[in-house]
Amino acid sequence: MSDATGDDVILRLEGVTKVYSGTVAVKQADFEVRRGAINVLVGENGAGKSTLMKIIAGVESPTAGRILLDGEEVSFANPAEAAKRGIGMVFQELNLFGNLSVAENIFAARELARGGVWIDHRLQERRAAQFLERLETGIAPRTPVEDLRIGQQQLVEIAKAVAQDARILIMDEPTSALSAVEVEVLFRVIADLKARGVAIVYISHRLEELIRIGDFITVLRDGRVTGRERMADVDIAWIVRQMIGSAAKEFTKAEGQSIGEEAFRAEDICLPRVTGGYEVDHVSLSVRKGEILGVYGLMGAGRSEFFDCVMGRRPHASGRIFIDGAPVRETDVTGRIARGLALIPEDRQREGLVSILSVGANLTLASLRKFVTGFHISDRQEKTAIARAIRDLSIKVANPALEVTSLSGGNQQKVVIGKALMTEPKVLLMDEPSRGIDIGAKADVFLIMRKLAAQGLGIIFVTSDLGEVMALCDRIAVMSNGRVTALVDRAEASEELLVTASALGHGPAKPSLVESLQ
């Protein structure tokens, strides 16, 4: 039955439709999953990929259509039933218990218990350690998950799915928070699973990744399947055509724009680590008006922590910051926003948006003061400003009074950006702004960044994507282990140089991995 060509279909979706409040997420979709192959699913944000996968994993039930597993029609009431039939899923939104340890998370709801009652913690930890070892994470199984960075949490999520011994393993953007090195490790694990006959469904926005590892590709657009091919028969241009429908929006190239005087300077920013040493180790950076400064590095290099220090979120941080040459003495977030700093946080759900408020209320949350006379918020002024932001950023929303969670990821990200821009910042700090959003929205975000820079904003842009950092930035800083290990103009930058610099000070194990990358 199972053969290496992976032509046999283990799971088939026929005419599946799913309707949510606010959107028809999937319309009449057919989808096939083949054994021992990597089945790639791709599409813009809001195209319905995640929904389709949630249907397969039993998280959602389809409004119409049927699911055939091994040729037999099935319906899953909940994820546990799907798991029983051998379907595992790595979610895009992390589904981990922050208060529990890594091992407890990996075996959540499937605890290894003696006699079905007493949890064998030691056995769980030993097994967890094996899985973590295979993913080369270096995470101790007893660590509470909330102490891990997002990238590490993602690895735990993957370990959890791998531990389920699934026949069908769905991975929804597993690499979105991973560094290049971690991605390589993940690909090795995937190849291993594939060789053992596991059917893998792989969702990602990184097209190069898909071309590299995929066997079959299905493209979704606006909830409909627009293309199904063998990966060998297609190229990036084809994928993009199917996804967007028309010519691809290219990453914007820098136009000849003037770079002004210094907008922002950070001197000697230090953030001590609880366990000794520094999370941010004497970092000094500056950005000029109209300049985009890229900060490249691996997860845990201290980039987000540096932003935290600059925004005044870490009371223990030391160092000086200057805006337009004048020292910033305000120590809290509110004061620093008032001085012209704004942060687009890495974690949209946890730090970017208030999910129960409307799109409009989220947009104006940071800049309410502008619409206030006395203490009265002028409804008219606020609405005008909201309408303008929605138009300027081309946020796709029927009505700004809708809850912000009704938007797709890319549009939610634009709301977060809009909120920051409405404070009229001089310096914009963007932490992985393209994480987990589709190509179309990404291109929009990059276009916005270019436009803002042209208007004289200084932008500091943290990313783990080499392509982005090379395409967008005027200057590139590399951070590793809390320190700035390289600072170069784009003209002098090479991918090799950036990767090498990003691994400095990370111990002896890493350089070999870096070599294997090149």
């Binding site: 409040s21 509110t334 946890r350 948006l353 940071a366 203490f375």
Partner: protein, 354 residues
């Protein structure tokens, strides 16, 4: 209401989602239900005298429930309001009867206006202590306010050794007469307490809807981290809601002692639970972020009318407790059902539109 909302609303009405609209108005429906029921079942229920008496009872709980609503919307809880009621009554009573002994042989007497101001100040100060414990020392709201519940009650009992301050008529030569106006006075046929309630409720509803502070309260309750990162001074917002809760409790303390012309240190025991019940009945979500002042007031009226009406019918107070508990539980169950139904109706509309 924008055009899009209107079309949505019309479509909702057209698609026969009557059940949903009924559920949305459930607190009002409950209010009319209890009104109609008791006007039939209890003699004299609809007499003007009874309605005014009842609304005075309701007003006390409504004050506390308003303060509680803001606190719950930020994701907290204030258990100390009942004790603040008791303590503030004792402060006012003590100042009228005995003045403030400066311990150097002099005693200062304040006039009534000053006494009211000082009492309100005491309520706000205890609220501020709650807020500081929660924001600066990171004590969980439940624990912090449980602590102040005991401390304030203990102080109230200590202030008179457990005795009542009786007969608060005051002395004309000290300017302390007229304290009874607050609880017994009327204007345009309505008790003064009701007018105060209307004023405070309008103020609170305005703050919630039209001021940055109001928006910040909801933002903090919805996502504290995102609010903080947007420049909302989270600690200040929390401090405010607890101070406002203390302020509301102080008003109740004043009204109760003025009405009785006496201050008893045990006044207000278990008031906090009634306040929480009214807020929840009015649609405030215990997980924070959702709630309205209007809903809370209606909730307070439902609870108040229910207990007064049952008394008039001669139902035993033991049964009253059982009934009140059931009403609260049903309210929350209906609330959940409404959210689910709302989602389903919206889904069906989407499906029809394609």
């Amino acid at each position: 209401m924008t055009a899009a909302q209107e079309t949505l609303a019309r479509r909702a009405a057209g698609s026969g989602s009557v059940a949903l609209n009924l559920m949305k108005l459930r607190t009002f429906i409950a209010l009319f239900a209890v009104l109609i029921f008791f006007s039939i079942a209890a003699p004299n229920f609809l007499s003007a005298a009874n309605l005014i008496l009842m609304s005075k009872h309701v007003a006390l709980n409504a004050f506390l429930a308003m303060g509680m609503t803001f606190v719950i919307v930020t994701g907290g809880i204030d258990l100390s309001v009942g004790s603040i009621v008791g303590l503030c009554g004792m402060v006012a009573g003590g100042l009228i009867l005995n003045g403030l002994d400066l311990l150097i042989g002099y005693t200062v007497y304040f006039n009534v206006v000053e006494i009211v101001a000082i009492t309100l100040g005491v309520g706000v100060a205890i609220g501020a202590i709650n807020g500081l414990l929660i924001t600066k020392l990171n004590v969980a709201p439940f624990i912090a306010t449980l602590g102040t519940l005991y401390v304030a009650r203990g102080l109230a009992l200590l202030s008179s050794d457990g005795a009542t301050f009786p007969n608060l008529v005051g002395k004309a030569e000290l300017g302390t007469t007229g304290y009874g106006v607050l609880g017994g006075g009327q204007w345009l046929g309505l008790p003064l307490a009701i007018w105060i309630l209307i004023a405070v409720a309008l103020g609170a509803a305005y703050v919630a809807r039209f001021t940055p502070l109001g928006r910040h309260i909801f933002a903090v309750g919805g996502n504290e981290r995102a609010a903080g990162l947007s420049g909302v001074r989270v600690a200040r917002v929390k401090l405010f809601v607890y101070m406002f809760s203390g302020f509301c409790a102080a008003i109740v303390g004043l009204i109760v002692s003025s009405e009785l012309m006496a201050a008893h240190p045990a006044t207000g025991e278990s008031f906090e639970l009634n306040a929480i019940a009214a807020a929840v009945l009015g649609g405030t979500s215990m997980s924070g972020g959702r709630g309205t002042i209007g809903g809370t007031i209606v909730g307070a009226f439902v609870i108040g009318i229910l207990s007064d009406g049952l008394v008039m019918m001669g139902v035993s107070s033991f049964w009253q407790m059982v009934i009140k508990g059931c009403v609260i539980i049903i309210a929350v169950v209906v609330d959940q059902a409404q959210r689910r139904l709302q989602q389903r109706v919206a889904l069906r509309q989407m499906a029809r539109m394609g």
